[in-house]
């Protein structure tokens, strides 16, 4: 087993009396891409937000690169990169200012920050639009800038909620390459998505979430064996979630 980069131990989150995540435990190793899949309302986005520090867990422990996010949130966040499902940001900053602002938030030296911004803008071909206001961008451009922002400070763990929504085919391909390169260099990715074909293509392991609980976990082959069904991830997923 690779070293653990992200670990969730019996994490729960309740809104009022409604449990959104219930006793969730999972771990993502270094250099691993983990796909969190499940139906709408299964708790994927809530899980992402708890790890990112946007929601407080009702109970449980989360460790990022061995750092407890509850005990040392600021240190833990330095190791994280987060892309939300809705890539909204400050409407009245330009794309470039947005990235520079993110660099400041993570305390990057300015020279390194600017070099990295140039490289990320170039990889997504964003340079020509980088000086427009965020509010004027298409959803796809916002998504690409959010991805660039998450990668900017070279995190060790990346959390991505629905990475492909709004992206054109070329950008989707670039994203896949960026993520696989990130993992190849030792980074870890927790990816939440409904696009099972993409997850199947780039993820090493999967966790299936339903009503806030992890109902199945493993590689594509392991999940196939568990469901007793061979075929695409979509077919395996449908077989595993049917009747739950």
């Amino acid at each position: 087993m690779k070293n653990v980069a992200l670990e969730l131990r019996t994490v729960s989150k309740t809104f009022g009396t409604k449990p959104a995540v219930a006793g969730l435990s999972l771990s993502v190793g270094e250099g691993e891409m983990y796909g969190l899949i499940g139906p709408n309302g299964s708790g994927k986005t809530t899980t992402m937000k708890i790890i990112a520090g946007i929601y407080r867990p009702t109970s449980g422990v989360i460790k990022v690169s061995g750092i407890n996010t509850q005990a040392m949130p600021t240190r833990a966040k330095r190791a994280l990169g987060y892309v939300p499902d809705d890539p909204a940001a400050y409407d009245l900053l330009t794309g470039r200012e947005f990235l520079q602002f993110v660099g400041e938030l993570y305390g990057m030296p300015r020279a390194e920050r600017d070099t990295r911004i140039s490289a990320l803008l170039a990889s997504y071909h964003l340079e020509p639009v980088a000086d427009g206001l965020f509010m004027h961008y298409s959803r796809g451009t916002k998504q690409k800038l959010s991805l660039a922002a998450a990668l900017l400070h070279r995190p060790s763990v990346l959390l991505i909620d629905e990475p492909m929504v709004g992206l054109d085919p070329e950008s989707a391909k670039i994203t896949k390459v960026l993520l696989t390169d990130f993992v190849r260099e030792g980074g870890s990715v927790l990816l939440s998505t409904h696009t099972l074909s993409v997850a199947d293509e780039i993820c090493d392991r999967f966790g299936i979430l339903k009503d806030g609980r992890l109902v199945a976990e493993g590689t594509h082959a392991e999940l196939s064996a568990k469901s007793g069904r061979l075929g695409s991830l979509e077919e395996v997923y449908l077989a595993l979630t049917a009747g739950l």
Binding site: Y55, P73, L80, Y82, A89, L92, F101, L105, D131, L133
Partner: protein
């Protein structure tokens, strides 16, 4: 049914549905705001009634002063109404979000304009409700008019609202057309500067220095002279026919028949509306489309001169986490709507202070009526109360919603390695500095206008700055206690139950501080020195507000979750 009728009908249905489905808390908030409006109207009514009854005791000068007060009230209502219409027309008419859905539908542009024009008309009617209508009602009571005066008064106020709307509509169209190539900020700055200049000129014209001297009339001949002079002062204003029509029974009566004057005014309104519809049919769609364009077109990165804003962020604030300050500053300065709203509120403050000064100078020889200490202390107190009131208004509109407005983009800062206390602290620092500068400018204007002696000026400035910091702490703290991340509309956030609580708490604080300022000014006028207890009281109250708000905010920030 014509499309425009469908639009109005659907708006009514939405309002009915909203009223039916609103919670008790929402209904209570709406009732509180209506009660506040009613109280303000009642306060204005009481002020006018007392003034009218007092001046009418003098048979010769009374009717002249009464007519003068009416003329000033209607002129101010007209100016404020038109300013309000023009200021809000950009967001309500020319960039109305609702039209993104309606423009693709087969509806005449003129109908769309009239639909949005009606919203701007309703929202810019507040000066009539708060100034002109109470003045009319007080006039009826002071003259013991019969019930038909009430009907006449309501009709007169309604017609006055329409005159303001037509003037505002035509002016908005002209400004939109003339300034369409300009960036939003430049456009709004120009409009703000124009209104400030017009406002200053108007106040100088209608409240000239020594105006009360005009009313020292000892004979009928002198009264007629004063009447003629007043006519010259006001005849050029569109509000003049209304002031005249309201008081035809006064001795120096209207020029011509009231009925024909009003009929002509009504005809002018009808023609104005027709002209607006014609203009809108021809140009509204083009202007709406033009204002909807972003002005940014992507192009090659290496094209020279293409990116004037490429100065790296942060431009100025490069120490510690001060870039959070610059982010707030940058996003505020680029928000044309927010800047123009703040400018308009400050314009109103400037106008109010000029009126207080003009009235206090004019009333300087009323030593027989008021004690000398009160004559000295009241203007100081009114000026402070005005600054406090406007600081509270600005705090509610900008500071209170500022954490909520981080909204859908808040994930960025909340998931970053910056402690939430620091996010709050920089916001507090940003708003205290920004509002502090604006209020310091207002305090300096007051000190210059009233020529305060140094000790009183120092206490006045200290009270203004302490109030600004306290109001920022209070409203930001309450905003952190109950944030609303669902909406992007600051007005909606400010009118929530917690917004109402912030208004009440801020109002009580300003009242307490105004009492201290009054005591300071009275003691200085009486004995030439300021009681130390006043300074201690001000400091204790302000520090208590800041410390308690801060404590609540820090606890709230620790528990805050972004939806």
């Amino acid at each position: 049914m014509k499309p425009v009728a469908v639009l109005f009908a659907s708006r009514l249905t939405m309002l009915r549905t909203a009223a039916r489905r609103s919670s008790w808390a929402q209904r209570a908030v709406a009732a509180c705001f209506l009660a506040i409006l009613a109280l303000l109207m009642l306060g204005a009514y009481a002020f006018f009634l007392r003034s009218f009854r007092y001046v009418l005791a003098d048979e010769l000068s009374g009717p002249l002063i009464l007519r003068y007060i009416l003329e000033v009230a209607f002129a101010l209502a007209f100016f404020l109404g038109v300013s309000s219409f023009v200021t809000s027309s950009y967001s309500l008419i020319f960039r109305a979000e609702e039209l993104r859905v309606l423009v693709p539908m087969p509806i005449e542009p003129g109908d769309l304009f009239i639909y949005r024009f009606s919203a701007a008309t309703v929202l810019s009617s507040w000066p009539v409700l708060l100034i002109a209508a109470p003045a009319l009602a007080a006039l009826g009571a002071a003259l013991d008019a019969s019930w038909d005066f009430t009907v006449f008064g309501v009709a007169l106020a309604a017609l006055f609202i329409l005159v303001i709307a037509v003037a505002g509509g035509l002016l908005s169209f002209a400004l939109a057309w003339l300034t369409k190539p300009l960036p939003v900020v430049v456009r709004k700055t120009l409009a703000g500067a124009a209104f400030l200049a017009i406002g200053l000129a108007l106040v100088r014209q209608i409240v000239p220095r020594g105006v009360f001297g005009l009313f020292n009339v000892e004979s009928a001949a002198k009264a007629a002279e004063t009447a003629a002079e007043l006519r010259t002062m006001f005849a050029w204003l569109p509000s003049h026919p209304f002031a005249v029509a309201a008081s035809p029974s006064l001795p120096f009566g209207p020029e011509g028949s009231v009925a024909s004057t009003l009929a002509l005014t009504a005809l002018a309104v009808a023609v104005g509306l027709f002209v607006l519809k014609l203009i809108a049919d021809a140009w509204f769609l083009g202007l709406w489309q033009r204002f909807g364009e972003t002005g940014f077109i992507a192009g090659p990165a290496d094209k020279p001169g293409r990116h004037p804003s490429r100065v790296p962020f942060p431009r100025v604030f490069r120490f510690g986490h001060s870039f959070l300050f610059e982010k707030d500053l940058l996003t505020f300065m680029r928000d044309g709507e927010a800047v123009s709203r703040a400018g308009f509120i400050l314009l109103l403050l400037g106008m109010y202070l000029l009126v207080v000064r003009a009235v206090s100078f004019a009333a300087a020889d009323l030593g027989e009526v008021f004690p000398a200490t009160e004559l000295a202390a009241l203007p100081v107190t009114f000026a402070f109360a005005a600054i406090g009131y406007f600081a509270l208004t600005l705090s509610l509109r900008f500071v209170f919603p500022s954490l909520s407005l981080e909204g859908r983009g808040a994930w960025l800062v909340w998931s970053s390695p910056i402690h939430s206390h620091e996010i709050y602290s920089w916001k507090f620092f940003f708003w205290t500095t920004s509002l502090g500068i604006a209020m310091l400018a207002a305090a300096s204007l007051v000190i210059a206008l009233f020529a305060f002696p140094l000790p009183l000026a120092a206490v006045f400035v200290a009270a203004v700055l302490a109030s600004t910091a306290s109001l920022v702490a209070l409203t930001l703290g309450i905003g952190a206690f109950a944030p609303d991340f669902r909406t992007k509309d600051p007005d909606l956030i400010a009118t929530s139950p917690t917004g109402l609580a912030a208004t009440a708490a801020g109002g009580v604080y300003i009242w307490v501080m105004a009492r201290y300022v009054h005591r300071a000014a009275s003691s200085y006028a009486a004995a030439g020195s300021i009681e130390p207890l006043v300074l201690i009281g001000m400091s204790v109250v302000s520090l208590a507000v800041i410390a308690s708000s801060w404590a609540v905010a820090m606890r709230s920030m620790d528990r805050m979750e972004i939806a």
